[in-house]
Symmetry: C2
Subunit: 192 residues, 2 copies
């Protein structure tokens, strides 16, 4: 019944871990700070707006939005409440399930997102991509996916795709968003 011997980190692992901690900490501080100053909302809220902007009808069921933005239901509920106060998001009853709520991006929210995106993307690029070679970008992606695959409890890419598809069914009826000029047309540029 001996305790399994702790597998301590090697010196290399330790240095990698600390570099990772420091880098991510300062990276997120920089990303969040810029968004907070520019828009008054934190990065997590921006992510919500982006996910909505990419959804059919600019709308998603709460639980699916939660998954898509890697957020707990509680956190999302609080966040959407704040965004609703700002007039950037609206809550609507889901017609197919009376328990459900659908969050929809308003025109004002859409405009705010459009206004904030260039500076945010520029910041992401400055802080991260300008510092990395294309090979490193590919490596980082592979590393991230390996970590995600390794049981860390979060939405897989597949699950996210699924819920976007599912939500169309429910959100389709409601949508009347500003569909033209939608940045969602090129869904790969808002940098979540």
């Amino acid at each position: 019944m001996a305790e399994p011997e702790t597998r301590w980190l090697t010196a290399d692992e330790q240095q990698a871990w600390r570099a990772f901690l420091t880098a991510t900490h300062s990276l997120f501080a920089a990303i969040d700070g810029q968004l907070q100053r520019a828009t008054g909302v934190p990065h997590g809220y921006y992510e919500i707006l982006v996910r909505l902007s990419e959804a059919p009808g600019l709308a998603l069921r709460m639980s699916q939005l939660a998954e898509a933005s890697t957020s707990s239901k509680s956190r999302l509920s609080h966040a959407v409440a704040r965004l609703e106060e700002r007039g950037w998001v609206e809550r609507l009853d889901c017609p197919t399930d009376r328990r459900g709520q659908v969050a929809q991006l308003t025109p004002a929210g859409f405009a705010a997102l459009e206004a904030a995106a260039p500076a945010h993307v520029e910041q992401v690029r400055r802080i991260m991509f300008d510092q990395l070679s294309p090979e490193q970008v590919a490596q980082l992606r592979a590393i991230s996916e390996a970590i995600l695959a390794g049981g860390a409890p979060a939405a897989s890419a597949g699950a996210v795709a699924d819920c976007l598809a599912e939500s169309a069914e429910c959100a389709g009826d409601l949508a009347e968003g500003p569909d033209e000029e939608c940045p969602g047309q090129d869904p790969a540029n808002l940098a979540g």
Copy 2:
């Protein structure tokens, strides 16, 4: 006077960015959750204890501890106050600068750290290192250092080393910590 054209992310960059966001989010949630359940304090507090445990005399000036744990002065002040309530850290007046405070790890704090370390390190290993090849670990470290070097406003490794050295001068007089059996003896294993 034309706006510089926004350098939008390419599809590859976008995918890397989102994978990175999702992976770090779930990784930190897992790390923090485990520590919170096991010790009742968040990962940031654990980092503070680790830095103290590695410092000469188990003590550091507040500002240097702040740099070493990539924390703002305000955040550190709040955190140390909480740790002091728990009896894990003590605040002492700095003998060479009457403005200064020195935070010192108490025996109870040391014991708490010692008790928490194995499970924490195991968690870091499970979530991260078990998922990555040695090459990927090296890559991640290089990537992290590149991001850090690229102007993200945070303490460089050199600055941290400096402040550990400086603090010895001030903390030396006070120290009477549990120096034997100190995990700081092998400073590469507590996984910050």
